[in-house]
Amino acid sequence: MTRRSREYALALHFRSDPKYLSQVRRQTFQLARRAGFNQVISKKISLAVDEACTNIIRHTYKGKESLPILIRGMNHLDRLEIRVRDFGEKLDLSTLPDKPSAGKRAGGMGLGLMRTIMDEIIFDTSVAMGTEVCLIKMKVPKVKPLKKVKKERSRAKAANKNKKSANKKRINKAKLKKHGSRSQKKNSKRQRR
């Protein structure tokens, strides 16, 4: 893995071997910290970059470990921009899912995570070879539309309710097992009399 930092805040050039992913995460985390993001958001940014690399290794390079990946990070006044480039076949943009994955399938989760973490993702196929994915995180967070916020809150509430009711049921079942139902107790008392 080589690192050049003249024109860019970060420039990494490495082979598509998954063993380099931990170094990629460490470098992008440090870049995000230098750009002024807090530790939690920086970790998330490094996860998004990891996902972009993972997608390249798995889908574009189909697991081949010796092909090149280039990462360039640019620290702008208002945003952090990280470009991840492969040199394989150009990505067919029509095959990308529109919405973030709901997590019901084992595949397609990476792009969903990238979309949730970053403010903008641009797939650039106009480069001479391969595809460049541009991950953008704004330094001042974008304001979410009110509808989206309300939807998220109601979803969280529903999930909480479900959890609570499931817990109650479980506790009641456990109590019944331990002490038996009231009617059973009454019956046993009557029998004793």
Partner: protein, 112 residues
């Protein structure tokens, strides 16, 4: 990454994982779990107390195990998640699908 499997009861195994789960490690984890998912399926409690990073390829291993075990009427419960892992799970909306418990004991109660 280290993976340690302990028998809790005859039908429940506890898998303790240490380290980071990314594309590099996920195939090793998949291989380790396959004995308890494919060969001799049992209920699984996955203790993630010492896991400080997981990406989509790691999460995919758990989803695959969940789907396979469900067909064999077995359960998989994740427990002792660090805050960061909980966040990643909810970002991927997997907390709506996978059962998550606070502790190993709590996880055992979820298994019917």
């Amino acid at each position: 990454m280290e993976v340690e499997v302990k028998k809790r009861t005859a039908s429940v195994n506890v898998v303790k994982i240490k380290g980071e789960i990314d594309l590099y490690q996920s195939s090793f984890l998949r291989q380790k779990l396959s004995a308890y998912v494919d060969d001799r399926p049992t209920h699984l409690i996955i203790n993630l107390k010492d896991v400080d990073y997981i990406d989509s390829s790691g999460l995919a291993v758990f989803i695959e195990a969940f789907q396979k075990l469900r067909t064999k009427k077995k359960q998989i419960v994740l427990c002792a998640l660090q805050k960061r892992i909980q966040e990643i799970l909810s970002l991927a909306r997997l907390n709506e699908i996978l059962t998550v418990a606070d502790t190993e004991q709590h996880a055992a109660r979820f298994i019917k």
